[in-house]
Symmetry: C2
Subunit: 429 residues, 2 copies
């Protein structure tokens, strides 16, 4: 074994960073055996240097992250700061000064993954980021390596633990959204400002990364259709139960039937209780992958948390260190397929639509005519009357999002339709 | 991109091999893009050369596998023959003549993995075998790369599709073992001679491979305790239901509480219906991994079949070809931890024991005394009488296998115990 250690610079020392540092220290012998050389924590860049960090030599701590990545003797920079800047500039600088990079930064990878890969490649360095998607669940490595000889057609996943906790709670207790969110906040599953989670921004970033890797095509955050789950109601869960379904916030990346374009989207959807994703409880994540040769695979585990995320970072760190020792680099960006990323209007799926309508003769015929005029075929209709008003639940066959949007617009213009109570996509059938 | 192709020799052209050849041809451009150079099928070794093989140039077909691996211009040998010989000699010869190897051969890897790794390393070549365990499910790569910075404590898996199909059928229909086996055979899920599957030999080989990788310790097939599932009865399933459990044939690899030894075993066991493995249906496989930092991960998918296995082979082929191009090798055997592999007697778990006893006063006291004398603590007892006979179901707290075996021996000697109807371990709690 080589005795000269590989030097690691840690950018950020919060929940994940401190756990990375702790494992690097406590499992030093194991890591050395797995890598073939010892690894040494050479510096830790933080914002608040005065904070006491157990187990970390204060002499290693600095507030000057730029100087740390420019040192020139750093083998691997581990970036766990998050956000776009200064992370982007620091990673770029690290590549230019000879380091490879392990990052857990989903927002940055989703927005600027292609540019960062280009800098890594120009400098013949590695950029690994297993921790950016679904925490400890090995997902990026299986997708870009294990399935490298296969053709992925769909990735369907629960990639945000906070929203899954909330939806699971609503499903199992009948609670409303706010009540379930309050509990998630009290238990530490939701942040004080839960916007990034509940509005689907976090999941959309992960969807962009997953779609890019799965389809060998650049997919940016802006390409991902995004709809949050704050408007899901207890009534929606009751409707889902009637359908033998539950509701999950899903990230869905799909290859179109013609194979030449892809879509990526995040929204709440009904999925059948028999689907493996339906039984993913609490804050767990799971990603379902469908491919030509492998059929259906699922990867399940904790999607967040300091230790699981640190495990993913360390797996990458071992791989990158091994690459350094052998003078090689791992798989870089694979965007050769360069498929078209289609807009949401092109997505084809089924819909569950609840309408409040006047309870009088001819209403169903009017509504059915609107669906027919827009080319949306109806699978089932259920009507329930109450005091001159009625609710009409329509479940459609597969139709494009554009056709559905047109249908709903036209429905809203009917005098007999008092309101569109909810529209929910039906997936995983 | 390099234009000179990498040359691949295929050993075996059955269900898996022909699918590998098919995908190599139909997805040639994709593979070239992912590897960075084209791959060319340079030879196919078969036993029956006269058989028509669609899509394979007859000029490539040979019966002389040895000459093929000795050619010297082969970059990668794909071995999908199975069995110990001639596969072992061919793989060794391939390494010695400059090729890396991708294998799907679980029996060989379980028996001679260490020796093959040594030859690979001596020749600075790769030995990859994702397809050897759980078909298309990426499992070996996640274990040896993604979790390379983590400490795995337990691997608990359904790694044989045939037996899972049979047990699932027994569970859902109340069928007996023979009836369910007959259906599995009729549907092609079981072979004409199902011994390797139903007696747990196949699962034991996979357990040896998984334990070796998970614990960085050599674990041979002989180290794995093995018990088949041919004696599981409808009555056992009824007992399991009473416990809120189902029955699965599990491969279980565990690190002992002291961290210094490991065990590996295959046997039927009760697991709670709430455990993610309980809902793995039909011929699917799933492997549950528990580690220090990641917590609980699960990998799920088709465990066998030509296409899924071919997908795993091709993922390895891409990785090995990329390594060839960069002049590097991937992770080799990692056995540095060299933990003791303990015998079955050291395994600690819970037990569900059904006894046929005389229905008279004092029997329960006698039975309870035997358990106490062997240090096996009882959790619950359920007694049911019928015509002077009674059945007694005892569920224990955690105890060593050695203590349990001693208890059962002593129970059999009691006059009041007519017979031990079944002993089933309870796992996953």
């Amino acid at each position: 074994m080589r005795t000269r250690p590989l030097k690691v610079a840690l950018l950020g020392c919060g929940v994940v960073g401190s756990e990375v540092a702790r494992i690097m220290t406590t499992h030093a012998d194991d890591l050395a055996a797995r890598i073939g050389a010892p690894v040494e924590l050479a510096g830790v860049a933080v914002r608040r240097p005065s904070k006491v960090r157990e187990g970390i030599d204060p002499a290693l701590v600095t507030t000057d992250a730029t100087a740390l990545v420019k040192r020139g003797d750093i083998d691997v920079v581990v970036e766990v700061i998050g956000g776009i800047e200064p992370a982007r500039t620091l990673i770029t600088t690290a590549f230019e000064h000879g380091a490879s990079v392990v990052s857990a930064n989903k927002a940055l990878l989703a927005q600027d993954g292609a540019a960062l890969h280009a800098v890594a490649e120009a400098n013949n360095k590695d950029l690994y980021y297993e921790a950016a998607v679904a925490g400890a669940i090995p997902l990026i490595r299986p997708l870009r390596e294990s399935l490298a000889g296969d053709k992925v057609n769909r990735v369907l996943g629960i990639v945000n633990g906070t929203t899954n906790f909330i939806l699971d709670k609503m499903d199992s207790t009948g609670a409303g959204y706010q009540e379930a969110l309050d509990e998630a906040t009290a238990l530490g599953y939701a942040e004080a400002d839960p916007t990034a989670d509940v509005e689907g921004f976090d999941a959309a970033a992960k969807a962009a990364i997953l779609a890019g890797i799965a389809f060998h095509t650049r997919v940016r955050l802006d390409d991902v259709y995004r709809e949050g789950m704050t408007e899901v109601t207890a009534a929606d869960f009751a409707s889902a139960k009637n359908m033998g379904c539950t509701i999950k916030l899903l990230a869905i990346c799909e290859r179109a039937a013609d194979g030449q374009s892809v879509t990526a989207r995040v929204h709440p959807a009904m999925i059948p209780l028999t689907h493996p994703l339906a039984s993913v409880r609490g804050a767990y994540n799971a990603v379902f992958v469908e491919s030509d040769a492998s059929g259906q695979l699922m990867f399940y585990g904790p999607g967040a948390g300091g230790s699981p995320t640190a495990s993913a970072v360390l797996g990458d760190l071992v791989a990158v260190c091994r690459n350094r020792l052998s003078g090689a680099t791992g798989p870089g960006e694979s965007a050769y397929a360069a498929l078209t990323v289609s807009p949401m209007g092109d997505v084809v799926t089924r819909y569950h639509i609840s309408l409040d309508v006047a309870d009088k003769p001819g209403v169903l015929a009017q509504v059915a005519t609107v669906f027919a005029e827009h080319g949306v075929s109806i699978d089932t209709v259920r009507q329930q009357g109450k005091d001159g008003e009625a609710s009409l639940v329509v479940v459609t066959h597969r139709a494009s999002d554009a056709a559905l949007v047109g249908t709903v617009e036209a429905l809203r213009k009917l005098d007999t339709v008092r309101g569109v109570a909810s529209i929910m996509r039906v997936e995983g059938e």
